[in-house]
Subunit: 176 residues, 2 copies
């Protein structure tokens, strides 16, 4: 299973692709960060992020996409841009019919480090260990994107199956 993890952000949007399965070693395919300048209008910044995500979906053809779930209680100065970027990520995946899952920051931290309140250094170190890298990926957004993808593989796509079943049930209800 190949998963694209996306850590949404307007200034830095982390993208990380890993391949593997539950109980099998995970392998880093690629990791990068799409950056956009705060000097540009927001619409152009979002288009740049969309193009970056679309290019990776074309190139790496993941089986699923995992996006960080954004909460309104986060730092309010950047939260709107983060939410907008997450919307772009969700649509880019869903438009291609790819399963999309949202994982919270604490779910991701717990999955990779065993501690839902792990700090960035700990997450980076665990991502490096899990993927057998020489050093933690930089910047933190890159490590977070990989941690999301790892989390998604390890949760075994169970959440995606539940959501697909719920969507199918909802579709059946609304077509009655």
């Amino acid at each position: 299973m190949r998963v694209l993890g996306i850590d949404p952000g307007l200034t830095r949007c982390g993208l990380g692709v890993v391949e593997g399965g539950v109980g099998r070693p995970l392998r880093l395919i690629d990791v990068n960060v799409v950056r956009t300048s705060a000097d540009l209008p927001i619409a152009e910044r979002l288009v740049t992020i969309e193009r970056g995500i679309d290019a990776w979906l074309d190139e790496y053809r993941p089986d699923a996409v995992a996006v960080e779930r954004v909460f309104a209680r986060s730092d309010s100065s950047t939260i709107m841009g983060t939410a907008q970027a997450s919307g772009i990520a969700l649509v880019a995946a869903a438009r291609r019919g790819l399963p999309v899952a949202l994982h919270t920051p604490s779910e991701v931290k717990a999955a990779v480090s065993g501690n839902g309140r792990a700090d960035k250094a700990q997450v980076g170190a665990m991502v490096a260990r899990i993927l057998r890298l020489d050093a933690p990926p930089k910047p933190a957004d890159a490590a977070d994107a990989l941690a999301l993808a790892i989390t998604h593989v390890w949760r075994g796509g169970a959440q995606a199956r539940i959501e697909a079943a719920a969507a199918a049930a909802a579709a059946a209800r609304s077509s009655r």
Copy 2:
């Protein structure tokens, strides 16, 4: 000048197209609301909204798009979905190279009613009067989308020109 106003929302996304110019009468071209079910996964809801906006951009070919600026201080239970929908609207317009402007709710209320704290009924009544409609458009999201488009025409695209100049200056700076 033909403007598409978008009042972003996940459950109801208002779309309104008006045509006219500063000092000339405004005309309603069309108004509607894209609705998505809360039973569906968020990614699918956003794709439905994207399709609705794209269909209107294809059909009405506006010269500019006006989107409501969303603030983090709004009702937090729906704010993330609203922000995500607004990101979709911004990208749909910018992807086509259309000028996009953001107007705040109080700018819109002030533009159509002279009062930045006007209530929904007042905004609906003024939209009906300005566009010479028999009754205020329903639901409020439809009226709000038209109010956004009206505001954009009346502000004379001045904001769009300022933003374009700022973007050009920024591009010139970064290419140096």
